[in-house]
């Protein structure tokens, strides 16, 4: 049997700022194909918030990052690194 799909893995995404009001845990875990991009991950998280237009709007304006850098939309999901979902920032 030939299964064309790449194996899945679990990715942990830490939540910050305004996302804390949309989810009762500090992080979400999603099983996603190893070949998935950031854009794919964004779509999967949007499904989790399908009943919450405010959360989806915030997701659209948010970036994904590792501990070291912000990721581009077409990049693959880095292996063995936790991700963070970063809403628009406002330090100071």
């Amino acid at each position: 049997m030939n299964n064309a799909a790449t194996p899945a893995r679990e990715v942990r995404i830490n939540l910050f700022g305004g996302f804390r009001q949309f989810h009762d845990q500090p992080a979400i875990s999603i099983e996603i194909e190893r070949s998935a991009t950031v854009a794919t991950l964004r779509g999967r998280i949007a499904e989790l918030f399908e009943d919450d237009a405010n959360a989806r709007a915030l997701l659209k304006a948010s970036a994904f990052a590792t501990d070291r850098r912000v990721l581009g939309e077409d990049e693959g999901i880095p292996a063995d690194e936790e991700l963070a979902l970063l809403p628009p920032v406002c330090g100071g």
């Binding site: 700022g17 501990d67 912000v70 920032v89 406002c90 100071g92």
Partner: protein, 146 residues
Amino acid sequence: MNIHVGTTDQPLDAAAALEFCAAPGHGAVDLFIGRVRDFNQGKPVLGVSYDLHEALCRNVFRELAEETVAQWGSDTRLWLTHRHGRLDVGEASVIAAASSPHRDEAFRACRQLVEQMKHRAPIWKQEHYTDGDSEWVQGHALCSHG
């Protein structure tokens, strides 16, 4: 090392920033202190809770400081620290300092560091109002996708 960056849940120390930026050849030190104010967007504010991504924040602070040094001179000394957790009105949330031989570079370097921090550092604030309500403040998007 002419750059100091950090995040903390403890009160910030302006004297430490000035001491770090002291150098015999530097005739100018510019110090910026950001403090929690008691009014924003028409509502009286009791305090602000700051949330930040510590590891990424330190990396971004260092990147911003290195860019600032590259812009205003390799001998520029820079300090940037940001607090997190719940702060009351009047408490310092951020301290930035820059020193250089002359004032123009010190002013500009300090301003660049603060403005870039506000636009690029992974920090969020939730304001707490006197009516008991709380709101996450809107900010600058880090992403550029459609």
